[in-house]
């Protein structure tokens, strides 16, 4: 934390030294994307909001979208300008590609998540959760029995805590319809 000063008394570090704020690779891409979003939304303001006749401009439905989008455009412009100015110092084209690829890799897990979302009303919460945990654990490279057992336990544990004990509103699976009435009701209520 401290570095020795000329006087012998240690000098306190600034906050910027403790938590350095730096522009990261991909910053410019993000800044331009935000700027483009703000400009497009601002251009659509006439189409996406209504102008009410004989109403003061401060009362118009478009007033707050205009304020927020105006501010967003201004800040995004400044941010993009700052990023472009510093861009050459912080990122190489290959570094940028790696960063963008990492952002895109997350899309795979969005797909996993959405498959899970659509599976729950069909297969039921318990089955979907256990299969999801196991499959994703395998996908993440864990092969040993200990991790697979842990994944199964996590899946069952989550269902027990949220659906069985806390009665969180999650619908029963469509497959439950094929089961005998008593079992079906039990599963719908608890799993």
């Amino acid at each position: 934390m401290s570095s020795q000063h000329k006087t012998g008394r240690p000098q306190t570090k600034s906050m910027a030294e403790i938590v350095p704020i730096r522009r990261r690779t991909g910053d410019t891409v993000f800044a331009i994307a935000v700027l483009a979003f703000a400009v497009v939304m601002l251009a659509l303001i006439g189409e996406q909001t209504k102008f009410v006749k004989r109403l003061k401009w401060t009362h118009q439905p478009a007033f707050w979208p205009a304020i927020s989008l105006g501010g967003m455009t201004l800040f995004a412009l400044l941010y993009a300008a700052g990023s472009l100015r510093r861009g050459g110092k912080v990122s190489s084209p290959s570094g940028l590609r790696v960063e963008l690829f990492l952002w895109l890799r997350a899309v795979e897990f969005v797909v996993w998540f959405m498959v899970y979302v659509f599976a729950v009303p069909l297969a039921g919460y318990l089955l979907s959760t256990v299969v999801f945990c196991l499959a994703l654990t395998l996908r993440m490279g864990y092969r040993d029995g200990k991790m697979l057992s842990a994944a199964t336990a996590v899946g069952i544990g989550i269902v027990l805590v949220f659906k069985t004990f806390l009665s969180v509103k999650i619908p029963g699976g469509a497959v439950y319809e094929y089961l005998p009435a008593a079992v079906r009701n039990f599963l719908i209520v608890n799993f």
Partner: protein
Amino acid sequence: MDLFLSGLDAIARFDVIAALLVGAIGGVIIGAIPGVGPAVAIAILLPTTFHFEPIVGLTLLLGIYGSSMYGGAIPAVLINTPGTPVNALTTYDGYPMTKRGEARRALSLAYSASFFGGLFSVICLMVLSSQLADVAPYFGSREIFMAALLGIVLVVVAHRGQNIAAGMLVCFGIFLNTVGLESIRYTQRYTFEQTWLTGGIDLIVVVLGLFALSQAFLLLVGKDERPTAPPVSGGMFHGLGEVLRHKRTATSSAGFGVVMGIIPGVGEFLAQFFSYTLTQKLSKEPERFGRGAPEGLIASEAANNAVPAAAMIPLLALGIPGEALTAMMLSVFYVHSVIPGPALFQTQPDFIISLYLCLLILNVLVLGFLLISTNMLLKVIQIPTRFLGVCILTLSFVGVYSLRNSATDCAMAAVFGLIGLVLRRLELPMVPIILGMVLGGILEDKFRTSMARIKTPLDFIDRPVSAAIFSLIVLAIALHVYSLVVARRRKAVADSSRGH
């Protein structure tokens, strides 16, 4: 006394006690796992708490918020990795103490300082929120508009070095809040003729995406890591005495935590930084800081644990959240039609007292749990990070889907998860988006109400409280600009001296 007893009666119930226990223990465990943090846990649990009574739901969420920082000190001290971002400065003196064989002393000090900070801030909450509530009747729509504007300005100003990004993101948050059916004229704004956008963009969906799903994505796309921590042996009770020997440090640090907790948008990190810097400056042996100084550890832990209760002061007294976690808690109030603000102190004083008591008990429970269970918690730290990502992704589903059983909500949360991932990778703050959404709604609402009563913009500040808040806004901007100019000059001097 009657009020105290009725408050005590309100919490002497199985569900409140269970919420206290789960919040306290769960928060410590969540805090101890690097890469999870209270925001992720609160975002996931938020919709679940809507089914509970407000006192139960808030106790659970406050428990997680308050106790996570206790837990965050464990990996900070033992493996030099803060469990939550606000334990960053704890590593400076905690880890060097571990390296020289004083892990037990460091942990004991961290727990005790956290306990001191926690208790100090609950006492401040009791005193200050009622004082603020006395002033609160003077808060009309103009004053609340000004207070929300102050919050927006402080959120931008507090993100030093990232002001432009914070401004951009706060405006994005305000814009998100405007999407959907506008409440006065019932016209549609930015719905693109999509029925699922008519109801607007739900704050919970955004919170879950930005905090929980983004963290899951980040862990899943990253390298797998398995942190290991050395076992700790011996009793943990000595720290309490040592903290009391450094009572000036503990009190001033907790005081910083309270002040920073009250000011919107500032939060734990600045509290920790200021208290650490002040303690070092006032110390007779400043050279020991960063090399295992007990005062350094006390300063950082007392300060960050004083923030959660203090952050409740503006929320309870004025209904204005100062940071993302209290913004999330505001939705628990709204779901149960409990409107925080001055009226709450008059209509439901026993509810307020119950909340205070819960916070007090919580700190005692957490300390007790930590003093006996540290070695057990070391196993939690060792969970592989990608597996943690699997767990967070699975839990996020409960959070989003249980809102309205809507796949559209899940898809929206996933999109915000991707945005959150990019923000995390770029080390940009997410809090301005959430505060923009919450404060943006307050701004629009109160602005419209105020406009019905004023003729010129100057009428906004013709009352003492609104004028005072406006002065604070001007002061905050002026001080920020001044500090930027000073920093630039210092940098120029440093650059020129390096050149010579």
